[in-house]
């Protein structure tokens, strides 16, 4: 067999559930986990004679995302009916947008390793209504729960610009971060707020000739793990299939596969010849949407700095590591709180440590954001500066924040005092303790003074002894200086 190289090509369709107050075309509240068919009305049940009324908030949210994706916003868009019969679809058509999506021709920037980024093209973004759910728990019959029917979904379709499973996952995570930043979706994977359908094929070069394998669409994936895994699995499967059959991409040989999580394989669902004719046509019950300039500008003004941009800026401006910047910008509220603490006078790196080591931990425990901990940016800045000023140790600072969270009304001076958090920096007092430690540990002292391999380790041992004797209150910087002077 001759030379063979290949690369995988992936485009993604993503459905994002928008967190609007009500459903896409009726007044029902969105639902998760409620009793089956308890969040329904004649409209989302598709009863005879009902008419849909468009939810303005869903349109605003969708346009906001489309703008964040740098899409061109259509001047004029409309609603279309997509027809297919399925028990979870009460009208047997779905209201969607066919040939005039509200957004098209944009891109999303995704982070790669080492602070590099990559642009992935966005073909289109459009709004549609979700279907209900079929339940198969009643023996010979299936049951239908229509609580989800009519929930607003934003469908985003990317260009086939991704070239690895890892990139696909990164895009999904980045999009999750983006819609959360914009406040348009909770993007909770457990609740099915984001669903993915990757379109995957390979470009294979064999003996100098290039072949493209038939495109496979994997349906309805609802976790980052499964999304990434399915691309990997499909990559191998398509390679094997190509080597066996030599089949290449052609008219009408795109297939649809599902994910079998138990066996970790994709399974054939539908050959393209069986693809349904959706008989799209404009929904006569809804009026077309024209985007007025002022309205669009109003939406545009609600755009915030996107997470990836913010991450890069945090690295540049605050000299944080890419990793730290990533952690701080994962949630919009954390990033904004961080900047407020810095604005209140905290040193960026120190503030970052405080927030990531203790702030986020506390917030997580309480199920709130750092901004909601009852600790002000000024408080954080003070503690951060107290560390830099040698008043607190890093661990003392963490402790101080924890205590402040428990009792927000107590001033830091009292917290420091009551818990002996203030570091001992008095050289005279510390010298006495150091001398005692030197006397008590001749072996270690010898290791240090001999300057051998064990020197460094022995020095930290002695430092540790001093810290122990002072119950952690000694300023390690001062102690080290004394040790250096005495043993140097």
């Amino acid at each position: 067999m001759g030379e063979l190289r290949y690369r995988v090509v992936v485009g993604l369709e993503i459905h994002v559930q928008l967190c609007t107050k009500s459903k896409m075309f009726c007044g029902c509240a969105l639902s998760f986990g409620e009793e089956a068919n308890s969040r329904v009305c004649p409209v989302c049940l598709g009863m005879p004679g009902v008419l849909p009324v468009m939810n303005e908030q869903a349109l605003e949210y969708a346009v906001l995302v489309a703008l964040a994706l740098d899409c061109k916003i259509a001047e004029f868009t409309k609603w279309d009916r997509k027809s297919y019969y399925y028990p979870d679809l009460p009208k047997n058509y779905q209201i969607s947008q066919y040939d005039l999506p509200l957004g098209s021709g944009g891109f999303i920037e995704i982070p790669l390793e080492a602070g590099r980024t990559k642009r992935i093209g966005i073909i289109r973004a459009h709004l549609e209504e979700d279907a209900g759910k079929n339940l198969h728990t009643a023996g010979n019959f299936s049951q239908v729960d229509l609580n989800r029917a009519g929930t607003p979904l934003l469908e985003i379709v990317t260009e086939p610009d991704m070239s690895s499973a890892a990139e696909v996952r990164t895009l999904a995570v980045e999009l999750q971060r983006m819609v959360r930043y914009l406040g348009v979706s909770e993007a909770d994977m457990q609740k099915g707020h984001m669903r993915f359908e990757p379109n995957i094929n390979l470009i294979i070069t064999k003996d100098g000739v290039e072949y493209k394998t038939p495109i496979v669409e994997v349906k309805n994936l609802n976790s980052f793990r499964v999304l990434e895994r399915s691309v990997d699995v499909e990559e191998q499967r398509q390679l094997d299939e190509f080597l066996e059959t030599g089949e290449v991409m052609g008219m009408g040989n795109k297939t649809t596969r599902g994910w079998d999580d138990i066996n970790q394989v994709t399974v054939l669902q539908r050959e393209k010849e069986e693809a349904p004719d959706y008989r799209y046509f404009p929904d006569p019950d809804l009026v077309p949407v024209e985007f007025k300039c002022e309205w669009l500008e109003d939406i545009r003004s609600r755009l915030c700095e996107l997470p990836i941009k913010r991450q890069i800026r945090f690295v540049d401006e605050y000299k944080l590591s890419d990793y730290d910047a990533g952690v701080l910008t994962a949630e919009r509220s954390t990033a904004e709180f961080f900047e407020r603490v810095v604005a209140a006078g905290g040193k960026p790196k120190r503030v970052c440590n405080l927030l990531t080591q203790v702030g986020l931990k506390l917030a997580n425990e309480k199920g709130c954001s750092v901004a909601e901990l009852d600790i002000t940016p000024k408080d954080f800045a003070q503690v951060s500066n107290d560390v830099d000023g040698g008043i607190l140790s890093a661990s003392g600072a963490n402790k101080a924040i924890e205590l402040k969270a428990q009792d927000p009304d107590k001033p830091f001076s009292v917290i420091y005092e009551e818990n002996n958090l203030i570091q001992k920096s008095d050289v005279g007092e510390l010298e006495q303790i150091v001398e005692q430690v030197i006397v008590d540990n001749p072996k270690a002292v010898e290791d240090v003074t001999s300057g051998g391999k064990k020197s460094k380790k022995a020095q930290s041992f002695l430092l540790g002894q001093v810290m122990q004797k002072t119950k952690g209150q000694a300023n390690p910087k001062v102690v080290s200086e004394i040790l250096d002077r005495k043993l140097g």
Partner: protein, 492 residues
């Protein structure tokens, strides 16, 4: 006394009831007396609500006795076509598939009737899902023409027209997708108005062709039609296609009704109207003479695309219908087959058993027109024709106040005469369809009889949202003729 009561106009009755001179209960009892007498022959109703109606009548009478304010249709017994949802009784659309369907909500127009203190006596028969021109496509029962019980009442609102003509209510609501109010009104010698698309809320009207459907009144006079419009017209937030009050305000249609339109200019389309039967053409000529005597100027206009109206209509309407009727699948409500092996069979068998022949035919036609590969040639082409027809009307209305033409090429035909020939049946809609395609209002008023003593209707079409002028133009004719006072022999 009873027949005197039954022959009153809605307005006379309402005024009498509001003044305490007449009891709504008496009028309602009279109506149910008429139903007892004529309904076994005419068959206008799918369901009647005697107990409910009398209770409402008594409630209105009590309010009046107590000096409380009452609505614009206080105590007036009316009927509703069984295509509008009501929380009481069933809403069948004259289809087996919805034979036992109980709606959880009221159509907006039903709410408006109830708020106006109307007494709803029953729901009228129709062609199944409003698809037809004779009411013979009802899956539930037969309705005959009160003027000749061997003939059809027209359709699809045949039950409403027959009930109004047969004195089994004082007014009724119908729905008009391609002539379904105007043609039965003309066949039954009553007044029928299809308002401008968007003038009356469609919420709760079971959809046939959503971009064409419009609810309107069937009455025994133009004044009653105006009164009914006062109650049902207006923007409804639940119907996105209903029109903003700011752009096209609803007015009091009764206020200036008796003011003739000054310097009235009437347009006719001679070649187009020439396709009608001779008695129909003659009646049209006579009607134009009446207007001439009233000082109107008659002009001829060319509306070249009207010839394509039927073709365009049967594509647009059936395409929309194929989608609108997809929900009747036996899964969520309505008829479900008893012998399905899997869910696909639940669909196919429930629908095969539940829908009648004409409904199936139109679903097939519409599905075909929307199918990939045919969409451009059929549906898109039909939309273009529709725009050209709109253009024809826009051009005509630059030169005139209204267009007049026949309602139907024939008078009421024999039961069974056309039922096996769908194309001939479709052609009988030729004069009514274009108003739906263009979205403009059109009224049918009685304007004569043929040799068999069958009523003939005059159709008047006006610019969008000009219902007030349209009603005034119709009223000019009515005040100078007696056709609308003629009664079918069955109720003499």
């Amino acid at each position: 006394m009873q027949s005197e009561l039954l022959n009153m106009s809605c307005k006379e009755l309402r005024d009498g009831i509001a003044a305490g001179r007449i009891k709504s209960a008496a009028a309602t009892e009279a109506v149910f007396g008429a139903i007892e007498k004529y309904e076994p022959v005419i068959g206008a109703y799918i369901s009647t609500f005697e107990g409910r109606a009398l209770a409402k009548a008594n409630e209105v009478d009590a309010k009046i006795a107590a000096g409380e304010p009452v609505g614009e249709l206080a105590g007036v017994p009316v009927a509703v076509k069984d295509v509008m949802c009501t929380t009481f009784g069933v809403t069948t659309c004259a289809s087996r598939i919805l034979e036992n369907f109980h709606s959880p909500y009221n159509a907006t127009v039903v709410e408006k009737l109830l708020a106006a203190d109307a007494v709803i006596v029953g729901k009228t028969n129709m062609d199944e899902f409003a698809m037809g021109s004779s009411t013979e496509n009802s899956g539930l029962k037969e309705t005959v023409n009160p003027w000749d019980t061997t003939r059809v009442p027209g359709g699809s609102s045949g039950g409403s027209a027959a009930a109004v003509a047969g004195r089994m209510c004082f007014a009724a609501l119908g729905s008009d997708t391609g002539g379904s109010i105007r043609q039965p009104a003309s066949f039954c010698g009553v007044v029928g108005l299809k308002p401008t698309y968007g003038r009356v809320s469609r919420f709760g009207l079971v959809a046939y062709g959503s971009s064409l459907d419009q609810i309107g009144p069937v009455t025994r006079s133009v004044a009653d039609c105006a009164l009914m419009m006062n109650v049902i017209a207006g923007r409804d937030p639940a119907d996105s296609t209903s029109v903003d009050e700011k752009n096209a305000p609803v007015c009091d249609y009764l206020e200036k009704l008796d003011e003739p339109v000054d310097k009235l200019k009437v347009a006719i389309v001679p070649q187009f109207s020439a396709g009608a039967d001779e008695p129909v053409q003659k009646a049209l000529t006579c009607a134009l003479d009446v207007y001439k005597k009233l000082g109107a100027e008659i002009i001829e206009v060319d509306m070249p695309h009207l010839d394509y109206a039927i073709a365009a209509y049967y594509i647009v309407a059936t395409a929309e219908a194929s989608s609108n009727l997809a929900r009747y699948d036996g899964v969520h409500y309505g008829h479900r087959t008893e012998n399905a092996g899997d869910y696909v069979e639940v669909y196919s068998k429930s629908r095969a058993e539940g829908f009648g022949k004409e409904v199936k035919r139109r679903i097939m036609l519409g599905t075909y027109a929307l199918s990939s590969g045919y969409y451009d040639a059929y549906y898109l082409k039909a939309l273009k024709v529709r725009n050209l027809i709109r253009g024809d009307f826009a051009g005509a209305f630059e030169k005139c106040d209204c267009v007049m033409m026949p309602v139907s090429p024939t008078t009421a035909f024999k039961i069974g005469e056309k039922i096996d020939d769908p194309l001939t049946m479709y052609l009988s809609d030729i004069y009514t369809i274009s108003a739906n395609l263009a979205g403009v209002p059109a009224i049918s008023i009685p304007c004569g009889f043929d040799d068999s003593e069958l009523p003939i209707g005059l159709q008047i079409l006006a610019p969008a949202f000009a219902e007030d002028r349209l009603l005034r133009i119709a009223r000019m004719f009515e005040s100078n003729t007696d056709w609308h006072r003629k009664k079918p022999t069955i109720v003499e």
